[in-house]
Symmetry: C2
Subunit: 459 residues, 2 copies
């Protein structure tokens, strides 16, 4: 007999004999019968299994502890309950793997901190089972959106030797003996002996390589891990995280915002459609109103407004600010919060002062701002950042000079402007930020299976 | 007017006015009219654009060089040609970005080596456009297979501090100054000052973490970049590549082979269905018979045979071998080739001598072999490797001792056997190997956008 997954049982709601393999979540034994609640990871809901004294090993079963893995043969019986539409009446229950009493995941409330210290076991709780299933489904939603819109998925390299983006923020990688590295005559490390023949790093972005592929395929996206060395212990920083970086040829800033808005709505709708149980769980136990927040966003028309006009609104608001809004400066968390409340929905803030933005962003006709755009959403702040790229080689070179960006090592990038350059745009979205938005979870450590943060690299 | 992608034009085959943005592939100008062949990356096929002397800038257009980006307004006209079902009669042609004469990608045959040295431009050729579109579509096929079968996609960490898998094969990563690292009193590097407070690496596998998630979700898969420090310059080695590692609870070796076979057929069929143009191109220009090879595989029943019986066949074959087949040894490339020809199809080789396999593989009742399996396919050799895992903690610990595997640092892994362990299995598939199989391309450097190999880390 083939094993049936519990999810399948709930989908089919069909009486008949089945074979189920799963882990015991609770076991309530009485004198003549007992109830096992078991979960096989295929869905959030547990399956109730009724066993009785007619089973030869009834005494044994009634002692099964939480965490034990079991194989159950029995009959599906439909029950007149909305919450639990069926149960299985066991004809045979066999223990596959025992679980001692010191099993850390007991059927009680554990703190998030405790579960972080048991990251290899926490996916066995309802909360993390829901979080990491949403993470998986959201990843699929992203691939599904871009592929169905004709984008090509590009695996840009993680190892890089170009330190143009500021090697201070990148991990160095090496195959040299760090204790006794080979040295040059002047006493510096001889990286010609390293695997790549020069000093190499792990990168924080695939954008530049992505742009070269957009000039071949029109529309491309990346989706992969990203690394930052930031020594920062906050709820929103991790040293390893995943990022999506789409890049579109023949696309200006307005077109970019169209894509961002359509993509985000698609992903949220996909998760709402495919993770109803999980979203309801978060709505009940993690963030009250989460489901409404998400459905509202799907129906919202995103506001598009310039950085200048945002600062204007902030200054005229009469609010007391910790950070005074400025036409020349970045926008603080408190400002983002105010502006999304002001418009009661997601806001694209565009046309930023060029001095606080990256060199590759398109300089606007005013000469002072660049065609950059940040998307801020209610409650969570910035979700995506993007820009139209400077396609004019002369202007780009001037900007690189102004901002002290090394040209050496990225001449290949400039070729995108030399050979058939065109208006193009792209954005980046931190995947964990999206998952935090989708689940209501407030600490990035709780949406990454095995998080890496300063002084913390377990498992 | 909104831009229409060329792929859309070919799909719809509808007359009417359109706006197209694309790059010039060829330009044949005559006295009174001319033909631009343009490509926008949305599909392999070029669009033919007819322009004539009625256009005010006719002289200019006729001088457009290869690589120029253009915007074309015109009318779609259906043509009675199977090869080119439509063309556009231009009403306006505007240059968006010029392209000088030194543009490396000219409409002629370039060597693969030359194109590797122009990796940032090579996706603009038909060959690499086809290769990297197939790579993208195959990635989607993999996600699609696993997600539709209820697997959870897990992002296992790349940074690791556990050097249990042999840190010699891993890149070291650090934020320390490699020139003058902080030292302990005994003169060794003081890694407590490093970002994670200890020495850290970039990993070559997510399997162990994946197993812990299989014990929560039942079925999981990983799909991400992987790193090896191998100083090996061959056609099949790269230091950065992508890998898929599924792991299934309640699944034995036979179940594992079922999954591998079904998944591979699904992915190949998906690519055949979605990349017909590209597969035909490879069949014509890269590997004659490729399409038949792929369709044959989809229809094949994979053979399942033990390592022992394979060696038996090899020894009795009467062939002269460079490497003599042995019951205790690995199987060489020449043996793989012979055995797939012998069975005229894909072959699962299972139950390998335990001494040449990893410690975590399930020891068979004979005590001599493990429940490992390699899938070898005609022409390409090994495509996947997997095993049933040793779920018995005692046996696993004994194997670790025998094979000198450090227990320190992976006690969490052993918890999968302590707490509700069960029969489970998993496999790994190198994504590049799959792409080489799908395209007929023989050098791994030509299926990775920006390959990293010893002494080579450009872009």
């Amino acid at each position: 007999m083939k094993r049936t997954k519990i999810k399948q049982l709930f989908l089919e709601k069909k009486e008949g004999s089945v074979l189920v393999c799963a882990w015991v979540r609770t076991n309530r034994a009485q004198a003549q019968f007992g109830f096992l609640n078991v979960n096989d990871g295929s869905c959030l809901a547990n399956l109730q299994v009724v066993y009785d004294a007619k089973l030869a090993n009834f005494e044994e079963i009634s002692k099964y502890r939480v965490g034990v893995s079991v194989q159950i043969k029995g009959n599906v019986v439909l029950t007149p309950s909305a919450k639990q539409p069926l149960e299985v009446h066991a004809e045979e229950v066999v223990m596959l793997g025992d679980c001692p009493e010191d099993y850390p995941i007991q059927p009680k409330r554990h703190t998030r901190e405790f579960l972080r210290e048991n990251a290899h076991l926490r996916a066995r709780t309802n909360l993390f089972n829901a979080v990491f299933r949403v993470r998986s489904v959201a990843a699929m939603a992203i691939h599904s959106y871009f592929q169905s819109h004709g984008y090509v998925y590009v695996h840009t390299p993680l190892i890089t030797c170009a330190d143009c983006e500021g090697s201070d923020q990148m991990f160095k990688i090496t195959t040299l003996n760090m204790q006794n590295p080979p040295l040059n005559e002047d006493g510096t490390v001889d990286f010609s002996k390293d695997l790549f023949g020069k000093q190499s790093f792990i990168t924080g972005s695939g954008q530049l390589q992505g742009e070269t592929y957009a000039m071949a395929f029109g529309d491309i996206y990346t989706f992969g891990p990203t690394f930052r060395t930031e020594n920062s212990n906050t709820k929103t920083h991790a040293n390893e995280f995943w990022m999506i970086e789409p890049e579109m040829a023949f696309c200006d800033l307005e077109g970019l915002m169209d894509v961002e808005e359509e993509m985000l709505k698609y992903v949220i709708k996909y998760v709402l459609d495919n993770c109803e149980e999980e979203i309801n769980f978060f709505d009940q136990f993690v963030e009250k109103g989460l489901k409404k927040k998400l459905t509202d966003l799907v129906d919202a028309k995103f506001v598009r407004i310039s950085h200048h006009d945002v600062v204007d609104i902030l200054l005229k608001s009469g609010q007391k600010w910790e950070f005074t809004p400025s036409f020349d400066d970045d926008i603080a968390k408190e400002h983002e919060r105010y502006i999304t409340e002001h418009f009661n929905g997601p806001v694209f803030i565009k046309d930023w002062p060029k001095d606080i933005k990256a060199y590759y962003m398109k300089v606007n006709p005013d000469g002072k701002t660049v065609a950059a755009v940040d998307l801020v959403v209610p409650l969570s702040g910035e979700l995506m950042g993007g820009s139209q790229r400077e396609e004019n080689l002369e202007v780009l070179l001037k900007r690189m000079e102004e901002m002290h960006v090394e040209k050496d090592g990225i001449d290949w990038y400039l070729d995108t402007r030399r050979y058939g350059g065109c208006v193009h745009s792209g954005f980046g979205m931190g995947f964990e930020r999206l998952i935090m938005y989708l689940t209501g979870i407030e600490n990035i450590r709780d949406v990454i299976p095995f998080p890496r943060t300063p002084k913390s690299c377990e498992y």
